[in-house]
Amino acid sequence: MSEFLNLLAAGLTSGAIYGIFGACLAVWFRVCNILNLAVGDFAMIGAIGTAEIVQQDHVPFAAGIAVVLAAAGLVAWSFDRLVLHFAFDRRGGGHGIVSVFFYTFGLSLVLEGVAKAVFGTDVHGAPEIWPGPALAIAGFHVQRAGVLVIALAIVSGLVLWAYLRFTVSGRAASACGESVLGSRIVGIDSALFRRRIFVATAVLAALFGIVESPLSGFTYLSGPTISLIGVVAAGFAAFRRPGRAVAAGLAIGVAEAMLGGYVSTSYNDVLLYAILFGIIILRPEVLGLRTAAA
């Protein structure tokens, strides 16, 4: 029983990582039909940046977090103003694979290069926000950072879900992804929504990187792997439903942990792709790409 609970705890922790990045990807894709392939790099900036300025420059931890989150937000805002604004607002944007993938893929490469030059190639981990030994609850053990990771993923998913479901602003954000012209007709500033949500998800990803890094550590190359995990989780949520992305991430994480614990860790990737393949065959509408270009 305790083995099951420990595997559950490990699965929820890794699933929360899937889920939070899936949620960040899903909410922005819902607004502007672009995949944020740099979301993992914002997490990397959060983790390594905080580690550097707290441990090397001896900036107080809270102030360091605030500085790094502000920097992540500034990078995202600048990218929107300097690249996306000209590509989409001035030149009519464009559709297809270039707009969906390559703007943010380019940003990811730039952030990697800058991080390598500034922070080097070592593994970094920010200090623990909630230091102390692992928690033992009813026979299973979970790291405190893991508890924070799970809590942050659930809270973020719920907040994003509630925003989209219950507020006019959230519905307007969804309308931007459905029809840019249709949203502008009623006075919705689709560029402003794109920018705000890009900045918000960049800051959220950076915060998640800070919280999660004591568990796994980050290098300048961690970003693309995280982004890829996020794409898979967002895919399970039709690339549009952040709440469902968190739930899907948690479920995938638990399934992987159970498979790894009771069968073999060699089958983790097989499980992930088998589920994805099954959905493509049985419920293709769940993936939602049919309406992405509408």
Binding site: V168, R171, A172, A175, E178, G182, I185, V186, I188, A294
Partner: protein, 253 residues
């Protein structure tokens, strides 16, 4: 090549154009909509060349003419959706160019050609978002309560409220597009080819509704390729040809 296009004979408040496509001002009040030397270019192609038109309060004016002569470009520019030169005023208030939000806040609302609904959102959300400029800071349920009165005009939409707009028929989608515009509480309503792609019977229903609207004090500028449709509801019509608004010489009776 000037011509006269007398519209419907309703004894409407405005007597139509004095001359040159201009509405006659009522006791010093500004016209509901003034379009002054508006031009629109797409690269080197000049789609609209110095268009000038005035619509009096409560008047329904049709802009007719063949496809590709600048009608839609003019109204989308007036609504702030494309860059333009010239001046647009709504009840005397000058609108900034290229700012559709300012146009909506001033009471100028467009029902665009091909509707441009949000296909994956419900009919309810599509209609509610028409009120975005005044309800954006509140909860969706409150916003819907604020605008649900528009269903009085389109009772058949009531049973479709929870259906995704992309699954509605063309006629139903057109109703949703008009209801969305009405949720914005417009003072001036622009309609761009409202019957494009609709079956004749459905188009007739849309025009029945427009006739009802034209009987109220709503100011309407209607873009329509089909002059028969246009003159069913309009007080008068002007023709756009090669990017220019031609001016009728004779006012309707």
């Amino acid at each position: 090549m000037a011509a006269a296009w007398p519209g419907r004979q309703t004894g409407h408040g405005s007597a139509g154009p004095a001359a040159g496509g201009q509405a006659s001002p009522e006791a010093g009040k500004p016209p509901a909509l003034e379009i002054e030397r508006v031009s629109v270019s797409y690269g080197k192609f000049l789609a609209v060349e110095s268009a000038t038109l005035s619509v009096g309060a409560g008047e329904c004016v049709a802009v007719i003419g063949p496809n590709g002569h600048g009608k839609s470009s003019m109204v989308t520019a007036v609504a702030g959706l494309v860059r333009r030169g010239g001046t647009v005023r709504v009840f005397g208030e000058t609108l900034p160019a290229g700012d559709p939000g300012a146009a909506v806040r001033a009471g100028l609302v467009l029902v665009p050609e091909r509707r441009h609904l949000y296909p994956d959102l419900t009919t309810r959300d599509n209609i509610m978002l028409g009120s975005y400029s005044r309800t954006r800071r509140i909860r969706a349920r409150q916003a819907w309560e604020d605008v649900s009165g528009v269903l009085d005009m389109f009772p058949e939409l009531t049973r479709l409220l929870d259906q995704k707009a992309g699954t509605l028929s063309g006629g139903q989608q057109q109703m949703v597009a008009i209801a969305r515009a009405m949720a914005a509480e417009p003072r001036v309503l622009l309609l761009d080819e409202p019957c494009l792609g609709l079956a004749e019977a459905v188009a007739r229903r849309v025009y029945d509704w427009l006739s009802m609207m034209a009987e109220t004090d709503m100011t309407i500028l209607l873009v329509e390729e089909n002059p028969v449709h246009a003159l069913m509801v309009a007080d008068r019509a002007v023709r756009m040809y090669k990017g220019l608004v031609e001016r009728p010489e004779v006012a309707p009776a």
